[in-house]
Subunit: 328 residues, 2 copies
DNA sequence: CGAAATCATGAAATCGTTTTCATACTCAGA
DNA sequence: TCTGAGTATGAAAACGATTTCATGATTTCG
């Protein structure tokens, strides 16, 4: 492998000048530039990035935390982030926390050991106090999740509003017996807020709720199917169901159709996300502007890296909107 | 930030000894080990990975190429690879080629500039001769795709067999007028082989084909819907359709149902992949053992990195199997 | 008991860049 | 003609680790 020294020798110049050419420093004559370029080509030279990283104290790499990349919501987020990062000369390291506190903590070392310039969290497993100390080693941006105490940029969606407009829609459609079915991930602010939005709409309309109309722990298509089986057993089932994801909604619709129920006549269902699957199943759903939050988060990240200012809290809240199809 | 020098000073020892403790070198007395550990803790020291990379000439990072991470097949592949890599102390850099030759070539520089120890390709856009020279800079493993001339480990599925068993199944079910609907991605060996398998089964059974029963360029759910619309116009449509992906199959089934066709009575459809969506839509499909190929590819990669032998061709061919549901 | 092998440590070289500092040359303005 | 600003270059320091080499001390063994 050719080094900068080899190039310098072949061009009859110093390492310094070669480095200047590479980094487009002014004060290099055209003639030397040509000489250097020629030598670099002849030797098929490229700068060694480990050396460059060491000297420059930056890696041009960003770590992105997701629970699991197979979740379409997160893979979409990552797709956009990678594209945006590549555009600005950054690479992405993928970290799957698998919803585990410990996994998340392990990956935090990446920042400390200077393997990445910054961290984007799309989910938060640990208490913020566990994460906070790592801010000393580089910027952190939170995307999609929310934390009260985090002194960092936060890009997230107005989930209260999301819960509210979805529920409002059901109410306007004339349903009065509403069920609620989500993943209720303990620490997640997202789930918490949606529930508030749901209850707000319900209370405004003066509707009655029953405890048995709350279904929890639902994440997958299969969970949706199970939820329907449970619902079917009720003597007084809800007429409409608010769900926390399109997968769950799809599972419910499928199971209901298979059982001979008509959607939305016998049971209306509203999803969340507007995934490709929602279109396939013709689900009414609350669309999350994934591209926008991903892009915003990445922009804030790169800005934080470049400016080197100390991290400050900054909230970017984006709206959600309803997409009406035939499941309600 | 504390450096190894600071630790050495605090512990009253040399950098060398500290380094030995970090790297678990023998020939360090227990006493000094304690001293060093204590100093490291006091200073909250962690080794700087850029420096370590430079000296060791390795990065403990692997680049994975996928066309798009939102494609569930690839996100599943990446999920397993990341998990496997993390287990062995490696990180993953995600590279989305977006089916573009140029993007793919750009990312190849990662290997040359020593930002990664190796490359795993899950799709190949460029001619192998474009990629081959980069073997000089580190190992490459091909996963899922196939190339005749590549002198590297290749982990892939027997797509001829896949096309064959899917088609055979349709024939055994009694269908005699078979359609073929895939993405026909020009350079892809995968698509090519499946077609061969399809034709083999058709010929063995002595069935007649019509040109109009071949549908191309279908990748998405929407493409599937469009395909059905086209098929509907035919005066003599096929009874059953072999498709290249579950998305396409799902689109066809959906459009058919909406048009009042019964599946499989009026039109049978078989998918490919066994994605979650296939279960939801109850698609018969050809399952690809994604976890296995991902794990195998990652193992071969890490082995190649560690052994430092020159790359040799090695084919690992895994079988596919049929999952029967109610769409056929 | 003396030589060889093993254990324990540190000084200095090394990895391949970028950056700082010093030096020299050119040219415009007083 | 002298001064100071701008231009162009290179020597050497720095980034922070690991590895080689050298040197003692200690143990083993014939």
């Amino acid at each position: 492998m050719a080094t900068i020294q080899d190039v310098a020798k072949l061009a009859g110049l110093s390492r310094t000048t070669v480095s200047r050419v590479i980094n487009e420093h002014p004060y290099v004559t055209e003639e030397k530039k040509r000489l250097v370029s020629k030598a670099m080509q002849q030797l098929n030279y490229v700068p060694n990035s480990s050396a460059r990283r060491l000297r420059r104290q930056q890696t041009e790499t960003i770590a992105v935390y997701v629970p699991r990349i197979t979740n379409p919501f997160f893979s979409h987020l990552v797709e956009v982030m990678e594209k945006e990062a590549a555009k600005k000369g950054y690479q992405l390291i993928l970290c799957q926390t698998r919803y585990k506190k410990e996994q998340e903590r392990n990956f935090l070392e990446l920042l400390k050991t200077k393997q990445v310039d910054g961290l984007i969290l799309t989910s938060i497993e640990n208490d913020w106090s566990e994460i906070e100390p790592y801010l000393a080693y580089g910027p952190i941006v939170v995307c999609n999740e929310y934390s009260d105490s985090a002194q960092v940029p936060l890009v997230f969606l107005d989930q209260i509003e999301g819960g509210y407009i979805g529920t409002k829609h059901l109410i306007e459609k004339g349903y009065t017996k509403l069920g609620y079915c989500t993943g209720d991930h303990k620490s997640s602010r997202v789930a918490h807020d949606r529930r508030i939005g749901f209850l707000k709409a319900v209370n405004e309309a003066g509707l009655q709720m029953k405890d048995e109309w709350f279904f929890g722990g639902a994440y997958s298509v299969q969970d949706g199917k199970n939820t329907f089986e449970a619902l079917k057993q009720l003597s007084d089932p809800p007429q409409a169901l608010f769900t926390g994801s399109d997968e769950v909604a799809a599972g419910i619709v499928k199971a209901a159709s298979d059982a001979g129920w008509k959607v939305p006549e016998d049971l209306a269902v509203i999803g969340f996300d507007n995934q490709p699957l929602a279109e396939l199943m013709e689900l009414t759903t609350v669309e999350q502007p994934i591209e926008t939050i991903a892009r915003q988060a990445m922009e804030l990240m790169i800005e934080s890296i470049r400016s080197k200012r100390t991290s400050v809290r900054k909230e970017v809240i984006l709206p959600l909107n309803l997409i009406q199809r035939s499941s309600t």
